[in-house]
């Protein structure tokens, strides 16, 4: 009897655990480019929306720069690269939104510290529905 109860409890816990991982706003493969104080840098990651609800990334905060913004690099005609600041980024349910070089990125304007390879920084992502997510971001070369 006791064994059966334990087994049921374990099973329930496993199922709940599985639910938790699939019903999450997950942010993974994050990294930030090394740079030096006073200069700019960029961070990249993959957002996977497993919440079952469409969401929107409203802003990103950090305490390593005087401003933290979301930008999109785009190749225009003739190989001209242009960058546009994004007010927000839609993160549809069950979809992956990839921040990557030459595309979406978090831009740090006026770093207040050096970014040395091997260190990590903390980023706060603010979603409309999922709320706040805090991510530890390693500083590394691409």
């Amino acid at each position: 009897m006791k064994t059966r109860l334990i087994m049921i409890l374990m099973l329930t816990a496993t199922l709940l655990g599985a639910c938790a991982t699939t019903r999450e706003m997950s942010i993974h493969d994050a990294w930030i480019r090394p740079s030096t104080m006073g200069n700019n840098s960029a961070a990249y990651f993959i957002i996977e929306n497993g919440t079952g609800m469409d969401d929107t990334l409203l802003s990103v905060d950090s305490d390593i720069a005087s401003a933290t913004e979301v930008h999109l690099s785009m190749v225009m005609d003739g190989g001209v690269m242009s960058m546009q600041q994004q007010e927000s980024v839609p993160v549809p349910t069950s979809e992956k939104v990839e921040f990557k070089p030459g595309g979406l990125h978090v831009m740090f304007v006026g770093l207040t510290q050096d970014l040395k390879v091997g260190d990590t920084i903390t980023l706060t992502l603010n979603f409309e529905n999922a709320g706040t997510r805090i991510v530890e971001v390693p500083i590394r070369e691409p």
Binding site: M81, M83, M107
Partner: protein, 204 residues
């Protein structure tokens, strides 16, 4: 030796010859460049720009080496560092051959990028890279000659204005003529492979 055996031998030899011919022809197939080749190469007017305090870089001073020109600006957080990191990878891939190439980043933002700033910026990627700035007229004539588009954009970013710019890498041959262009996103391996081929073709 009977007749049948000598026929077999003949066929065997003919077969080997045929295979050898195919292999030789295949091996001699001309190399296909990943970048866009300019044939004939386009002569580029010599220019002199500033790098660091009182130091200059002239295209003519790099004669005998291949020059990889790239246009960007130091406040650029994404595309410019991506390209410079890739060019560092190219140098690493080339190994000893890297001494025959010179990477030069030319600013697209002389208003904010001083020669000192350019020099310090590229040094973070590779101490052998050269970063240059200069007066607007000198830069504009180089941009114009190579068809480089540069435009300031006000996007409301805390970075002030951003600069839209051509993101290709321009390869100038040992005489300083434009011979090859790589669009943004060409892999370091492909760039290194093209450069190895050019170096091989023009061995001195």
């Amino acid at each position: 030796m009977n007749r049948k055996l000598s026929y077999t031998l003949l066929l065997y030899i003919a077969g080997i010859l045929a295979i050898t011919t195919v292999v030789v022809v295949l091996l001699q197939k001309p190399y296909t460049f990943h970048g866009t080749v300019l044939n004939p190469p386009l002569p580029v007017t010599d220019f002199t720009l500033q790098t660091g305090e009182g130091e200059t870089f002239s295209l003519s001073a790099a004669r005998g080496r291949f020059v990889l020109l790239f246009f960007g600006y130091t406040s650029c957080p994404d595309v410019c560092p991506t390209t410079l990191a890739e060019l560092r990878q190219v140098s690493e891939n080339l190994g000893d051959d890297a001494r025959n190439i010179q990477v030069v980043m030319v600013t697209a933002d002389p208003e904010r990028d001083t020669p000192e700033k350019m020099k310090a910026y590229v040094a973070h990627f590779d101490p052998n890279f050269i970063g240059v700035s200069g007066n607007l007229a000198d830069l504009e004539s180089l941009w114009e000659e190579l068809g480089v588009f540069v435009e300031k954009e006000d996007t409301g970013s805390a970075a002030g204005y951003l600069v839209s710019h051509t993101s290709s890498v321009y390869v100038l041959d040992r005489n300083g003529d434009l011979i090859l262009m790589f669009p943004y996103g060409t892999s370091a391996a492909d760039i290194a492979s093209d450069l190895s081929e050019l170096l091989k073709q023009t061995e001195q």
